[in-house]
Symmetry: C2
Subunit: 406 residues, 2 copies
């Protein structure tokens, strides 16, 4: 497996084309690219994972309805930034459908062969005349096979500071396959996903059911392990399209091949998830929380989330303060029955607590580690065999300043 960070991402697998254009979703006339299309002339099998928030945005409801058809094939995804089309009632649902069907019309494919995504402000209806004009422009770029991979990556960004992409190629013996992905993230990032749109393409061939299972597994090991601010959005979507252009068929019964494909998919998802956390709103630190020794993995995840969502813990990381007391306090209110006198804790490999006793002689090393841009915190509860890992970040004054109005 060869791994490529950044780069074109979605168009690395053969037969995929992207476009990204400015249609002025926000009415600001700032020229920001805000509408994009991913397209394959060959129809794709597909799978997706969506937000579990009770409040699902119109594009999520629309795309979910198309994916209910087990034999569904798709040619394209249309996505906009700047407006989430969430909490927009019947008008919102009609607008999402219109985005899908208008894209289908321009690309000359069937109405139910286009998935729809939106991200941005909640509670405002889409400016449909500008969106429709944008769909026409983007479709022209697609049909003209214009190289729009980078433009698409830009078009989906909201408060992100950079585009985020990667890809892998796998030599299967039966031929090479590629998997490419892009993501937009930033605010509202929580386990079980966020205001995050992730798109993944592959030129492998695979059945819808297989893609669904394998995508769920990969998302659990990647996007569901990140948390920025504990907020889960109305629009989170991870969409996987497989057009089969490589001629290599992946199926569950060929264990070795499907395992290799899974590894590639997981690598892409994990890379994108970590990029998402690093590019969280006004973030200065990327912190990995490893919890071990709980009774179950679920308990470990609960402890990891209490720590990674604690404002006091996150604020202390921002200040490079190795305040282990706040970490242990947060672990305590996960209420998994921890005993302080059993806890081992580490900053990177450096002991902080051994069976609840602080190793004060390491204090200057703790400070040094917590001052770095990236570090790990390991907490071993020594109660059982459960474990979990979460990737998170600090909370800066700029986060609050940035989010105090929109």
């Amino acid at each position: 497996m060869k791994f490529f960070e950044n780069g074109d991402g979605l168009t690395e697998p053969r037969g995929f084309f992207c476009a990204g254009i400015h249609c002025d979703v926000k009415g600001k006339r700032d020229g920001k690219l805000d509408l994009g299309i991913v397209y394959s002339s060959k129809p794709c099998n597909a799978a997706a994972v969506f937000t579990t928030n009770d409040v699902k945005a119109a594009p999520v409801l629309y795309s979910q309805s198309l994916l209910l058809n087990k034999n569904a094939k798709f040619h394209a995804v249309i996505a906009n930034s700047g407006n989430a089309n969430a909490c927009t009632g019947k008008q919102g649902l009609a607008d999402s459908k219109k985005m899908g069907t208008e894209t289908a019309r321009q690309l000359k494919v069937r109405e139910d062969e286009v998935l729809v995504c939106s991200t941005g402000r909640i509670g405002v209806t889409l400016p449909m005349s500008r969106i429709t004009a944008g769909i026409r422009d983007a479709s022209e770029d697609i049909l003209g096979e214009f190289d729009g991979a980078q433009a698409f990556q830009e078009a989906i960004l909201t408060s992100d500071t950079c585009t985020k992409s990667c890809s892998v190629t796998i030599n299967t013996g039966r031929g090479e396959i590629s998997i490419g992905g892009v993501v937009k993230g930033a605010g509202m990032i929580e386990p079980n996903m966020a205001t995050m749109l992730a798109f993944i393409t592959t030129d492998a061939a695979a059945e819808n059911d297989f893609l669904k299972d394998i995508l769920k597994k990969a998302v659990d090991q990647s996007f569901n392990r990140i948390t920025i601010d504990g907020d889960m959005s109305t629009n989170d979507s991870v969409i996987l399209l497989a057009n089969g252009n490589s001629g290599v068929e992946i199926a569950g019964d060929d264990k070795k091949l499907s395992e290799a494909f899974y590894k590639g998919l997981e690598a892409v998802c994990q890379c994108l998830a970590k990029k998402c956390v690093s590019d969280g709103e006004k973030v200065t630190k990327l912190v990995t929380i490893c919890i071990r020794g709980t009774h179950t993995n679920e308990e470990a995840a609960k402890v990891a989330r209490c720590i990674s969502n604690s404002l006091l813990v996150k604020s202390s990381w921002f200040g490079s303060d190795p305040n282990w007391g706040r970490v242990i306090d947060a672990a305590g209110y996960a209420k998994v029955g921890l005993k302080f006198e059993k806890i081992d804790m580490f900053y990177n490999q450096v002991p902080v607590l051994q069976k609840g006793e602080p190793i004060e002689s390491n204090k200057s090393q703790w400070k040094e580690i917590v001052s770095k841009r990236t570090f790990n915190i390991t907490v071993d509860l020594n109660l059982g065999g459960g474990n979990a890992e979460i990737w998170t970040n600090d909370l800066s004054e700029e986060y609050v300043n940035f989010n105090k109005s929109e």
Copy 2:
């Protein structure tokens, strides 16, 4: 019932004395009062509610052990700020016991007649020689009947910006009784309590079991309804002392009298809880979240907590931005089965959503309300008869700046 805000609080009921002195817990020689005693020469019945965090500070464990004795009587509470004596292992437990027994020795009462509280930094052992000297000084003030009510209020503060007290007097027909209280709060405030120490005194007479039941009920209606930053501490304690000096015996079988006493206790607890939220670290807004129309009260509380702990919601309040989308998004991830198209929402009395439709014509009024220092948000899910109310506040840049190191 007569209600007094601020004032002497704990010494309003007859027979209680307070002291507050500087013993330099933090070793900063800044003169801040940091050790206090509440005392009654007549032995008190008592009840307490403590943190439910798995990690309980040594003074919590020590005081809990004394309260296990159903017939326990107490003469005093000794409390320090500046050091929580939490995560301090066997030394911490020995130090808490020493605080209690040394206070008992100075006040010439039995060892098991003194409760102990600490609040402040986690993971540092107490400077016991300075604490012991402080206990001697404070006990001298108590036995000299020096008027230390205000000094005690100051001595328990950490990052609080002001002292917080109140009292009520109730004319029972059989004689007047008083209930007084003080609280310290600030960071780490969450439902089911926080880094909060609250002390309540009364000159009514009542059995321990009665006090326990009634205090739990009052705490559920007050301190368990507040949230500042979602962090629950290792030291939260609410302690109620009843010395019977009024000669009025309150018992469960006199419904009218016990109801009047409860109303007074609830009023004191609610006043202190609200003062706590208003004085949260670097807070600029006090917001009441009213959730209605859920299937159960528990669901309503869950929704209220998701909203009140959302960083995006709290940041938008700080910016006086009536961003109802973030409120609804947070309600959605409580996962109580809400339907957006059924939701009614209000800022104070002004409609924001009616059955999921935004009432945009009210927009300037929304902005005006959210710009105030105090406002209510009501969300009616229209699914059932459940409801809950939570008092919370905004998240300011100063909060992060303040908490980035300690």
